[in-house]
Symmetry: C2
Subunit: 159 residues, 2 copies
């Protein structure tokens, strides 16, 4: 019976391992389904915590649009910043926050879309316990792309 139990758990472990390997092929975080490579870590002068950027569409004078994927680890967020022609965020997995200066912090999650108007201060990032995966779209780049400002304080992040 000892052997049979061992065999049972060994087989179960084998199946489960196969499962975990399959599940983790596309996962960066247990919960997050990665579509793109993780990319480069965002610089500490523009981000609190670890945020990973993978560029998808480089700027050109034909489409005038920049697109990329950011994965924010739990607790990570951007500094406050503005976009001269605004920004669109498409949340593809996880959970986090978006805030426009002077407005309440907004909870965002998989499937949500955020439109931030031109020249308005905002920040975005992950929740304290779950990561956030998002696409950013910067339109009309002939007007400029981004202007980075001060970090989001712990108090601002928590409210």
């Amino acid at each position: 019976m000892k052997y049979s139990l061992f065999a049972a758990f060994a087989l179960a472990a084998l199946f489960n391992l196969g499962c975990q390997e399959k599940a983790s092929t596309n996962a960066t975080d247990g919960e997050i389904q990665a579509i793109f490579p993780k990319g480069e870590q965002g610089p500490a002068e523009n981000f609190t915590g670890k945020a990973w950027n993978y560029g998808l569409v480089e700027n050109d004078t034909i489409h005038n649009t920049v697109v990329g994927n950011v994965y924010f680890e739990p607790g990570a967020r951007s500094n406050w910043h503005t976009h001269p022609a605004g920004q669109i965020l498409i949340i593809t997995d996880g959970e986090g926050f978006h805030q426009i200066k002077g407005q309440p912090r907004q909870t965002i999650k998989k499937g949500d879309v955020v439109k931030c108007p031109p020249n308005v201060m905002h920040w975005h990032g992950a929740s304290p316990t779950k990561g956030l995966q998002q696409l950013y779209i910067v339109p009309n780049t002939e007007k400029g792309i981004v202007q980075w400002l001060q970090p989001v304080s712990e108090e601002e992040y928590s409210n």
Copy 2:
């Protein structure tokens, strides 16, 4: 020994079932990971087979950008069409094709990005055996959004 083998396979089956249930939570198609609702079926005058469109960003005069998600069932594709300011496709799951008129058909899959120039005839859709999930970004919509043309023939689709 019969009992121990049964126990082993029963346990293995249990673990494996748990894995399959978890994996299918976000799946529309066995293979495709759905981020957004399936949306509305694209009209037969613009699509061959079943393509499902879910609008994410409506046109406005601030961002001048339209974004949406399309899931093409296996074998489904758009008609030939043009965009006055071009288009960007972000492939988020599955496998399919993109073709610019006069160029070879290009295979596209999860993680790929396609930039189609302004006023160039193109089509996109799923492979015959796998569905395709893609985001479309139409920039500079003040120039127009889309002009629909003739269906993609079986011969064009298969080459």
